[in-house]
Symmetry: C2
Subunit: 401 residues, 2 copies
């Protein structure tokens, strides 16, 4: 089984049996392929006699999106497993444990999280997760600080940058987030009802200038090891647990990009409450919960990041008075900009979100899309002036007033 080929279910079972100290020798194992088949095979392998289980995720050498298929590097399995292992070393409770990474097969054996649900679904069901903000704020602070020049040996960090050079997956982001939504690209999937608003973006040079500046940061700012795709579909959740999965887009980039991914997907759900909430009072209430979560994520991130810095920062120059405040302000400004970029692309670009697209009422869906565009473009245009998280919340509140 050592040279690459897509595993059959029987092979997956045999492979899982070989993982040391996991299953009972000789016991019966069952396998179910639960991936969507577009990018990866995902085998859920269980031992009914004990309830033990494991996930085997195998990268496929292509990506399938809307019927098209293009080749995609198997190296993303290495990136994903190596990023998970670094994240686990920093936040062991917030990512799935990796049992094994097999380079030849582009396969990772990891902890089964079937008792969690995808957070996007949880939000669409109107659930609240009071521990989430603390969890994800800590995840962001610890994974960013300890992979940056602030929190690790600066020469080893350069080797990490090299380890996580990720051209093919970065290209997807560069095009789908920072280019295609701002022109009449074939990849877009423009809802006819809001075509006027989308076309207005294409002619808004002030907006496109800010997007080009944010794109520059994505291309050049090797600040910390990012997850790279931290939307609510990359988060498994239950009331007492949060698990960040799927870091195959990991690379060294601007810290605000990951924070922005979290905020954008909370704001997309915020916009989608046009349709999900059953009345105005519950809509306002759930929206307050979402904005409160954003505030708490930022405050947790900032508090923990500064505290790690004060406790573990060894770089002399970075202890200069005023520098930490300057740094946090840059991260906040990037966060505004990337939150906006990641909100806009989900409205009319490729790969939209169920929060909005599953709305059945056409008028509510259109309102949600327009709200999301207003929030996204507002954040992008304002990002270089931002000074406080309150301003981000204000931009969201004004869009639904």
């Amino acid at each position: 089984m050592s040279s690459y080929h897509a595993l059959s279910e029987a092979e997956a079972v045999e492979y899982a049996r070989g993982i040391p100290n996991l299953f009972t020798p000789g016991s019966e194992l069952t396998s179910r392929e639960i991936g969507d088949g577009n990018l990866n095979l995902v085998f859920h392998i269980t031992e009914p006699s004990t309830g033990k289980s494991v996930i085997l995720k195998q990268a496929l050498p292509y990506a399938k999106v809307v019927g098209e298929s293009w080749p995609l590097t198997l190296d993303r399995a290495r990136i994903e497993s190596e990023a998970l292992m670094i994240q686990e070393s920093l936040c062991p409770d917030l990512v799935p444990h990796v049992f094994v990474y097999d380079k030849e097969l582009a396969l990772t054996g990891m902890e089964d999280l079937s008792d969690h649900i995808i957070m996007r679904r949880g939000l669409m069901e109107g659930n609240r997760y009071p521990l989430f903000a603390g969890h994800i704020g800590r995840f962001l602070a610890h994974t960013m600080f300890f992979t940056s020049d602030l929190g690790m040996n600066q020469q080893e960090k350069k080797l990490r940058v090299k380890q996580f050079i990720n051209p093919e997956l970065c290209k997807i982001t560069e095009e789908l987030i920072f280019d295609d939504p701002y022109r009449d690209a074939d990849t877009n999937d423009i809802p006819p009802a809001i075509r006027d608003a989308v076309e207005a973006l294409w002619n808004d040079n002030e907006l496109k200038l800010e997007v080009a500046i944010l794109r520059t940061g994505f291309l050049t700012k090797a600040q910390a090891l990012l997850h790279g795709d931290l939307h609510t579909g990359s988060i498994f959740i239950k009331p007492d647990s949060t698990k960040v999965i799927d870091p195959e887009f990991a690379y060294y980039g601007p810290i605000g990009f990951d924070i922005g991914a979290v905020f954008a997907n909370l704001l997309l759900n915020f916009a989608a409450q046009e349709g999900w909430s059953k009345d105005a009072a519950s809509r306002e209430d759930y929206r307050s919960y979402l904005l409160g979560t954003i505030r708490e994520v930022w405050e947790t991130f900032e508090r923990e990041f500064r505290s790690l810095w004060n406790e573990h920062g060894t770089d002399r120059m970075f202890q200069t008075p005023g520098y930490q405040d300057w740094y946090m302000q840059q991260v906040l400004r990037d966060t505004f900009g990337y939150t906006g970029s990641k909100t806009v692309r989900r409205v009319h670009g490729l790969a939209q979100v169920a929060d909005i697209n599953k709305l059945e009422d056409a008028a509510a869906k259109e309102r949600a899309q327009r709200i999301a565009l207003q929030i996204g473009t507002g954040l992008i245009k304002y990002h270089r002036q931002a000074n406080s998280i309150d301003e981000l919340l204000d931009i969201a509140v004004k869009a639904v007033r």
Copy 2:
């Protein structure tokens, strides 16, 4: 000869003889070791019967500075030769031709430039090089543009970033330029006469904040493939020719760092005219020549960079109105800051410059050092507000008024 060892002169001759299509088979060759022995062996090998010659540069596995010796990666020979070959493909007339790179021996065989002199010496002798500004401005524009996200495939650029990860040599810069001069470090060599001015830097938090910000750019801003050490000792010159040598510090960093290296070394000579010029009139005249050179380098760089962008820039988002102006302003601001950083470190840090240190008159030397510190700190403090090259020249002029 395939495993690494420092070559003897006889071995160097034999090696040179093996370079295809260079020397006449069987002819007599002579060798002279002309390196300073601190970092590299440099063999100058000539064929007296034809006048043909070649330089063999072999990296030593250590660096010797002021009596101390520390290990230093042989990989710098690869970095240097690969950077030279990229630069040659973009500006064939402005770098030595590389005949051969031998990974095992950490050895590069390159064009002999003995008919040129080191530019630092040329300036100390009061020479003028009217073609220099055009040459180096073009070198900066072409090597930066075509290795950046603006002028090359953005996925291939990421592989270039990986190819030029250069931790050990970057560390030297991070410490000697962006840290040690701003504290009482052992590596400093503080001229007793200006100790008051040096100690004032150590207590200047406004200055140190700006240095910390510039250091952040050096650590994280992967904009283009830099030479990394572009002072006037890395430039061979004669009236009709300019050759940039020794890019062993090459890595992906901020464009303004290389431009700043050129400007800083012109400004150090500008300061040193306190002692070199024979009278006030010739001093003013040579200083005008130096400042005119700085202006012309910037103007050539900016004009050529914008012109390459307009002609060869394929990225759609980077054609957004206003973006090119924003980008050039960032490069200008970085240039101010790095010019300042590279000026200050040469006054009292490790590795000072002959322009100042060879001055025999103690009073003139002290004035030169104070002028250099004033210019350097002025540029560092002003860098985030800079809008035109005139402001840089003003800061220099004010320091000698």
